[in-house]
């Protein structure tokens, strides 16, 4: 609707200015009511040069300002932040590596200490066992020696006792013979008789 009417009246833009004076009173609020009701404003070619000029000036300055000042600054801020984040992450990874290494070293030390402790314990155990063995052996040997001595003494006592059995038997036999027969038997006979019995 508006578009077609606008184009229809484009052919006579100069007519608008002559109407301006008469239409001025209907637009008390606006200072310059030149093309007030003539054409649809966005399609009024009379405003094109001014709008293009000011668009070029304002947008050109805007472009230059953004390109020279704002974008390096914002880009810089973001780059610095990204660098900082990467750096912090790197450092965190490094610290984590260090912590891991420390844990590994600690665990290794712990394991070493454990094996060492085991070895010491084992050694002490072995030593104690060996000492006990030697002590036991010594005691055993002493006991064996005492036992042998005792046995030797027993056998010598026994042999002595056995030796004395003959003379006792002869004495007893001569006493028995004397009491029974009233006569005396010679010592040699009695001894021969005891010997034959003892066999």
């Amino acid at each position: 609707m508006f578009v077609t009417s606008a184009f229809a009246q484009e052919s006579a833009p100069s007519a608008d200015t002559s109407h301006a004076a008469t239409e001025g009173e209907t637009h008390s609020g606006t200072s310059v009511p030149a093309e007030a009701h003539g054409t649809f404003p966005p399609f009024d070619p009379a405003t094109f040069p001014s709008q293009l000029l000011w668009l070029a000036i304002t947008f050109g300055l805007f472009y230059l300002f953004l390109k020279r000042v704002v974008m390096p600054r914002v880009g810089g801020i973001i780059d610095v932040r990204n660098d900082r984040i990467t750096q912090d992450l790197d450092q965190a990874a490094k610290l984590k590596g260090e912590a891991d290494a420390a844990v590994a070293a600690y665990e290794q030390e712990l394991a070493e200490a454990k094996t060492k402790a085991n070895a010491i314990g084992q050694q002490a155990n072995d030593a104690a066992k060996a000492e006990a063995d030697t002590a036991r052996k010594k005691v055993e040997a002493a006991l064996d020696a005492k036992l042998g001595e005792a046995e030797a003494r027993i056998s010598s006592i026994k042999a002595n006792a056995m030796k004395e059995v003959g003379s006792i038997a002869e004495d007893t036999a001569s006493a028995i013979v004397e009491a029974l027969a009233g006569g005396k038997a010679s010592k040699a006979e009695i001894a021969a008789a005891v010997k034959s019995v003892a066999r």
């Binding site: 200072s31 966005p42 405003t47 001014s50 947008f59 600054r73 801020i77």
Partner: protein, 252 residues
């Protein structure tokens, strides 16, 4: 006077603030120019001031600036690859300019720069001119491969090339008309519904009750326009990225 208040076209009028006439051309400083200046000052000032502390841990406003920067940067990198990053300042300026111009236009009594087709067309021509100039600078006549897709049968080639040329030529038109029409239609609709509220309220108690519906519509439309303001800036920037990709890699 009452009819003039609800005239939905009134908001698009250009008023001369400082008349300038050079060589027969009317180059006056108008309300449109004033809002272009305001757009640039608001956008540049926001980006400049929010990042002035250069905090390693950004505050809320610095985050907004950084998000806009990275948003456009990722958009361009996705569409045109790392080679396209040389156009980052252009795409970022376009995005910020269109976005802030759209958002400023949402304030009542403010002029919407992007609701004038000559402004959006100027920006679109800037994009296409960049594509064409850079395309020929980088690839010479190889840039014309843009119009000759691979794997098309020879007998279809003239037709396809014709279609490709037409689609290329219509790019500045579609780019500018899309933004312009969205802003224009949105602002007209807003004004019409707001106008209903005013004219109905003038009719007395029944009218005031009846004006609740258009008022609710105006509120909802404002929210929608906020979305459109951002969306159109995004679409403008995305299409710019895709056209720049053609300049960088014309062989499809």
């Amino acid at each position: 006077m009452a009819a003039d208040k609800v005239d939905p076209i009134h908001q698009f009028h250009i008023n001369k603030l400082i008349p300038i006439d050079i060589g027969g051309y009317d180059l006056s400083f108008t309300n449109s120019a004033l809002f272009m200046v305001a757009t640039v000052i608001v956008a540049a000032g926001f980006l400049f001031l929010t990042t002035s502390s250069r905090s390693l841990v950004p505050g809320r406003l610095q985050s907004v600036s950084e998000m806009a920067y990275e948003f456009v940067g990722n958009m361009l990198r996705d569409a045109a690859g790392t080679q396209g990053m040389k156009f980052f300042p252009l795409v970022f300026s376009l995005f910020m300019f269109v976005l802030v111009a759209n958002l400023l236009g949402l304030f009542p009594y403010f002029f919407t720069v992007t609701s004038h087709i000559i402004v959006t067309f100027g920006l679109a021509v800037l994009v296409i001119a960049t594509v064409v100039v850079y395309g020929f600078m980088k690839h010479g006549f190889g840039f014309l491969k843009l119009f000759v897709p691979h794997g098309v049968p020879v007998f279809l080639l003239p037709l396809v090339v014709l279609i490709e040329v037409i689609s290329f030529v219509s790019r500045p038109v579609s780019l500018s008309v899309r933004l312009f029409a969205n802003m224009l239609a949105g602002h007209i609709t807003l004004k019409v519904f707001s106008g209903f509220v005013v004219s109905l309220s003038a009719l007395g108690a029944v009218g005031v009750a009846g004006s609740i519906l258009p008022l609710a519509m105006a509120v909802a439309l404002t929210a929608l326009e906020l979305l459109v303001a951002f969306l159109q800036a995004y679409v403008f920037a995305v299409l710019t990225c895709m056209y720049l990709n053609d300049a960088l890699h014309p062989g499809h």
